[in-house]
Amino acid sequence: MAIDMQLDRHILRRTDSSDEEIVVNFGPQHPSTHGVINFVTQTNGEVIRRSVPDVGYLHRGLEKIGEMVPYPGYMPFTDRIDYLAAMFANEGYALAIERLLGVEAPPRAKYIRAIAGELCRISNHFISVGTMAQDIGAATPLTHALRERESVNDLLEELCGARLTFNFHRIGGVAFDLPTGWGDKVLRFLDHLDSYIQEWDRLITFNEIFVKRLANVGIITREKAIDYGLAGPNLRGSGVNWDIRRDMPYGAYPDLDFNIPVGAGRFGTLGDCWDRYFVRVQEIVESSKIVRQALAKLPEGDIQAKVARKLKPEAGEAVGRVESARGEMLYYVVSDGSEKAYRLRVRTGSFMAMAIIEELSHGIMVADLIAIIASLDVVAPEVDR
C-alpha cells in the first residue's frame, strides 16, 4: 500500500497533472497482469500518459535462499523462479554448478535435457500465445492452447512425475531416464502439433481484428531492444538474431539443426506486438523439430555424471546461461569453498521486459497496454524471484 502511494505521488509530481487525469492501479489483482504486478497508470480517459510497473509483490528471496541451502538442495527452488518453464530454470542452475565443479553431464543426459526443455518451451509458448489471445478478447484460443499444453504436461509428468515444478535436472545429469515407449508418445503428439499449429494460425494468428490490434502497437526498435537488455523472443521480435542455444552453445544444441525465428514486421513495423507474438508461434514449430531430431539421435549411456554426494566446489565463480522460454536465463554463482553458495544471482527475461513498459506506455490506449504486457510474456514470479 505504502509503495503504491509513493508511486502515485512520484508520478503526480513529475507530470503536470490536470483534473482530467486519473491514476489507476492496474493490478496487483487484475486478470491481465499475468500475476501479481501493479502497473501504476496515469490516464487521460482512454489514453495513457505513463504507466510505471511496480514489482515486488511476489518477491520470495529466492537468491538469498540459494545462499542458505546446499547446492543440490536448491534445485527444487529453481522451479519456483519460473513455474511456466521450470525446465530451463533447472537447467541453468545445473549448468552453473557443473561449471563450478568442472564436471559435465553425459551425452544422453544432455539430449534428455534438450528434449525436456523444448517440450517445456512448447508448453510455455502455448500459455503465452493463448493468454495473448485472451487479453485481446478472444476466449476460445486460450482453451485450445491449454488443451495442447495438457498433452505436453502429461508427457512431462510421465517423464519426471510433476506437471509444473519438475525438479528434473540434477547437478551432472538428470533425475530419470526416458520411460519405455515414451518417445513414440512424444512423436505422436508432435505429429498432431504440427497440423494443429496451422489450425491455430487460421483461428487467431491471421485473424483480421487480432492483427489490427497488435500490428504497429508497442514498437520496440532493434536499438531500443538491445539498450534495454531484452532477451529471448522479445529481442528476436525486434529483428535481433540472437539465441543462446546457437550463439553460446550448451548441452546437445550444437548437434541439432534448427532455425531462429525473428520478427519481420509482416503486418506493421518491425518489433511490434504481432512480431513478438509470431516469433513464439514459430518457435513452437522449431521446438517440435528439435525434439524430433534429439529423439532420433538420442545416444545410449549414463544419465548422471559422477558427482560427490556432498558438493564442496573450490572457491571461485561460474555462470550458467540457457535460452529459456522467456529469453536468456543466467545464474551467476560464487563459491567460497563451503557446501553453500556464497552468492547466487539470477537474471531473467521477464524482469528485463518490465523496464521497457514505461517507455512504451506514453500516449497509448488502455487496451494497448494490455497487449504490450501480453506480448512481452511477463511472468510475475520470474520478475520478482
Binding site: I22, H30, P31, G45, G137, A139, S195, I209, R213
Partner: protein, 460 residues
C-alpha cells in the same frame, strides 16, 4: 444457514433421476411454450374494445360505460406485461445455458452438465444463487443511483418487447411508429450502463460506463439509418406493416429484394452487436482490460439483472433483424387472406387460426434462434476491437455505408418495378444458398482436417 433447494444434483434430483428430466423438460419446453400460448391467447385481446366485447359475450357484463373499464384494462395490461417480462427472463436465462454449451463445444470442454438433464437448469441455479447473495453497495458509491442503475437497463430491455411481433397476431401493440419506438427505447440500456459506471465510484466501472455511452450512442446512428431501409421499402414504420410487406419465401424478404438492403442488414446487425455490447464490441465490460467494466461493483440480484439484460438483449437484436429484414413471422405459402378467413367474425377464432398463428410464431422463433446462434459463434471466435477502431468502424465505414444504402434504396424504390425486385430476390437467394453451401463444405473440410468430429455424449 444452509438452504436446500432440491435443484442441485446432490439431493432431490440424484435420488429421483426422472424428476430431473421432468423438471428439465418442463423448464426447457413447457415453460416457453406456455408463455407463447399465453401470449397468443391474451395479446390479440389487448384493446379496450376487444375487452368490452369479451366481457359482453362471455360474462354478460357491459364494461364500456362502467367506471371499472380502465382499471380492468390496466389489470389486463399488467398480465400482458407479466408474460412479456417472463419471456425476456426465460429467454435470457435459457440462452446463457445455450451459450455456455455452445462455447464449451467450441472450446473442447463440456460446459454445464450437472444441474438437471444436460445441465439445463444451470441457469435457474445461477439465478437462485444470485438472488440469495448479499446485495453489496460500496461505501463510497452513490447509493440511490447505484441501486437504480440496473432498472434503467431493464427498462431499456423490456420496452422494445411492446412492439416486437412474435406472430401474425401475437404482438402487444402494433404502434404506427414501431421502428422509431424500438430505436428510441432500446437506447435506455446505455443509461443504466452510464449510471452504474458513474455511481459505482470505481475507476474500472467509470471506464466501462463511459465506453458504453460512447459506443452505444455512436452506433445508434448507423443502426438507425440502416433500419430506415426496410421502412422505405415497406412505406411504414409499423413493425407488423413491415412484416406484412414481406413474404414467406426467402426471395420475398427485404434483405434479398435490394442490394442496398443486403448491405444494410449487415450494418444493422453489426451495429446491434455493438449496441448490445457483444463480442467483438464488448468494450464496456472488457474482462481483460476493465476487470468487469460497468458492473464490476455489483453483486447479487442487481448483477443478475445486468446479466439478464445482456443476454435477453440478444432476442431483441435478433428479433429486430428478423422482423425488418428476414421476413419476420411470415410463413411460406400462407397469405393474409388465410389468416383472415380462419379468423372468422366471432370473438373466438376457429382452431385453424390458432394453428396458423402457432406456425407463424414457430417460424419467427426459429429464425431468431438461428441469428442468436450466429451471435454466439461470433462471440466465441473473434477478439475484441480497440476503442479507436470501434469509432473508426462506426464513423468512417458504417455511417457513410448506411447513408449510401438509404439513398440507393430510395432510388431503387423509384426506379425498379416489382418484377425487378423479384428477380433480384431470386438472384440473391441463389447467392445466399451458394454461400451456405460453401460454409458447409468448408466446415466439412475443416472437420476432416482434424480427423473427424468427436462428440462425446457420455457426459452430456
Amino acid at each position: 444457514m444452509r438452504i436446500t433447494l432440491g435443484l442441485d444434483s446432490t439431493s432431490l434430483t440424484r435420488r429421483y433421476p426422472r424428476l430431473a428430466i421432468l423438471v428439465t423438460l418442463f423448464m426447457a419446453f413447457a415453460l416457453p411454450l406456455g408463455l407463447y400460448i399465453a401470449a397468443l391467447a391474451i395479446f390479440p385481446l389487448n384493446t379496450p374494445e376487444r375487452l368490452d366485447a369479451m366481457a359482453r359475450q362471455w360474462f354478460g357484463v357491459e364494461l364500456a360505460n362502467s367506471p371499472y373499464r380502465y382499471p380492468v384494462y390496466a389489470l389486463f395490461l399488467l398480465l400482458v406485461a407479466f408474460i412479456a417480462v417472463n419471456y425476456a427472463a426465460v429467454f435470457g436465462g435459457a440462452s446463457t445455458w445455450v451459450e455456455r454449451r455452445v462455447a464449451g463445444r467450441m472450446q473442447s470442454r463440456i460446459g454445464p452438465n450437472r444441474t438437471g438433464a444436460a445441465g439445463f437448469l444451470a441457469w435457474v441455479a445461477d439465478a437462485v444463487k444470485m438472488v440469495l447473495k448479499e446485495d453489496t453497495i460500496p461505501a463510497s458509491a452513490d447509493d440511490l443511483l447505484f441501486r437504480a442503475a440496473p432498472y434503467f437497463s431493464m427498462v431499456g430491455l423490456l420496452l422494445p418487447f411492446v412492439v416486437l411481433p412474435f406472430g401474425e397476431a401475437t404482438v402487444v401493440t402494433d404502434m404506427n411508429v414501431g421502428v422509431f419506438y424500438v430505436a428510441a427505447t432500446s437506447a435506455f440500456v446505455v443509461v443504466g450502463i452510464l449510471v452504474s459506471g458513474w455511481a459505482s465510484n470505481s475507476k474500472w466501472a467509470l471506464f466501462g460506463g463511459i465506453r458504453g455511452a460512447a459506443q452505444v450512442l455512436s452506433y445508434e446512428i448507423p443502426a438507425g439509418i440502416a433500419l430506415m431501409v426496410p421502412v422505405l421499402m415497406a412505406g411504414t414504420l409499423s413493425m407488423q406493416g413491415i412484416v406484412r410487406a414481406q413474404g414467406g419465401w426467402p426471395w420475398e424478404w427485404f434483405v434479398m429484394r435490394n442490394p442496398a438492403a443486403f448491405v444494410a442488414f449487415f450494418i444493422a446487425v453489426t451495429s446491434s452487436l455493438a449496441e448490445g455490447n457483444r463480442t467483438p464490441f464488448d468494450l464496456p465490460e472488457a474482462e481483460s482490460e476493465l476487470v468487469a467494466g460497468y458492473h464490476a461493483e455489483y453483486s447479487g440480484f442487481r448483477l443478475a439483472i445486468f446479466l439478464m439484460v445482456e443476454w435477453a438483449n440478444m432476442w431483441i437484436m435478433a428479433g429486430l433483424a428478423v422482423t425488418l429484414f428476414l421476413g419476420g413471422w411470415q410463413v411460406p405459402g400462407i397469405t393474409e387472406e388465410t389468416y383472415k378467413s380462419a379468423l372468422g367474425s366471432g370473438l373466438v377464432p376457429s382452431p385453424l387460426w390458432f394453428v396458423w398463428q402457432l406456425l407463424s410464431m414457430f417460424i419467427f422463433v426459429v429464425k431468431t434462434w438461428a441469428l442468436v446462434f450466429v451471435f454466439i459463434w461470433l462471440r466465441w471466435t473473434l477478439p475484441r476491437v480497440r476503442v479507436d477502431q470501434l469509432m473508426t468502424l462506426c464513423w468512417k465505414y458504417l455511417v457513410p455505408g448506411a447513408f449510401l444504402c438509404f439513398i440507393v434504396t430510395l432510388l431503387w424504390q423509384l426506379v425498379v418495378p416489382p418484377v425487378g425486385m423479384t428477380i433480384t430476390g431470386i438472384a440473391f437467394t441463389v447467392f445466399a444458398l451458394l454461400l451456405l453451401v460453401k460454409f458447409l463444405v468448408d466446415m466439412r473440410r475443416n472437420i476432416d482436417k482434424v480427423k473427424g468430429d468427436r462428440v462425446d455424449l457420455s457426459n452430456w
